[in-house]
Symmetry: C3
């Protein structure tokens, strides 16, 4: 559909997100869209990933109810009553520690790839980009790498 | 194998998949391979992702039995008896609604990155690309973005 | 930071990892870092994925305890007492077979995308790249594709 040869642009940027509670999902699509504009890339690929091991970046429905559901789901899938060991702590300590946070982050994934088409993210309106926090409140860095023309 | 730049190709295409039941996994590797041919890219990267929040794209074993297993797995992991709330509906309504579909899609991921080498997908024969449908039957759009030389 | 095109580099390499037990997580970040050096790419994107359907590549905390936790988690999430069918075997055979391995690999994902910035992986020190083995011991091939300048 499109085959250009022009100028390859490689752009890297980052932004900070501050979570306010232990477990939270924050919609970062606006910040990622800003990064696309800053890169000046019209067509290409974008990687948004978090530089931490206890949060994750996913694409999900943007409705507030869905965000709450993801938090509930991960609490169910990564059972806090299971003895996932971390630093030889038992569960009660683990949950105060962050073994379950590591597991939730690994299962959801550290980042997402998104296409860039005609200067915009190749996503539908309902697709939010969520930073899911599992060990907050904290300040988190999201890295955005853009490659394209 | 290393290639200097001659011509960077950026190609975007899409195709439609129609699911026939509520939950289904459809092998879309043939359509993705066609997109590689259409792009004319010999070496590079490809992103295949679905522009929806209740289906997912994954790489998995192509055997029919495995596809059935993934459906069973997700029904087990995202427990339909759990009260994942969506629009204030209770479970029985949720399952008729699509809260569980959103969760299953988020956990599996919206898309996959695949290398392109010598004009073909850098995948083994057993690795299928599956569109996993969690809220069908529906018509789904898969977006394919290719970057390379 | 934004760089115009000088020379686009497309590099593909691969390396082998030999797992020693049935279920294991192996830190492959050193080998991936070598691939970045071999590619000679200073800024761009990297895809590391395994060419198999019963292992997965993820980014996770590098502590040994965490690796053990991931194995425990996946044994919990993909319940070995569930009858995930594969080749018409019952559970006891499945676990000796590899149906659960396929499911664990699909849920974790076949590969990861990582940014390359100033000649290094755009990851924090705590972020390891793990090959998670679910049907070992085996020899596994990891494919590394690099695109950038």
């Amino acid at each position: 559909m499109q085959a250009e040869l022009v100028r390859l642009l490689v752009h890297r940027g980052s932004f900070t997100v501050t979570s306010e509670t232990r477990r939270q999902a924050v919609d970062i699509r606006p910040q990622v869209e800003e990064a696309v504009l800053a890169a000046g890339v019209r067509n290409g690929l974008l990687l948004a990933n978090c530089l931490h091991t206890t949060c994750a970046v996913i694409i999900a429905d943007s409705a507030g109810e869905s965000i709450g559901s993801i938090v509930r789901l991960m609490r169910s899938v990564i059972d806090e009553n299971q003895a996932y060991r971390h630093n030889d702590l038992r569960w009660s300590d683990c949950e105060r520690g962050n073994a379950t946070a590591h597991l939730r982050a690994s299962l959801l994934g550290h980042g997402v790839m998104i296409g860039i088409a005609d200067g915009a993210l190749a996503l539908e309106a309902a697709q939010s980009i969520l930073l899911t926090e599992w060990d907050g409140p904290r300040s988190r860095t999201v890295d955005v790498q853009v490659l394209g023309v």
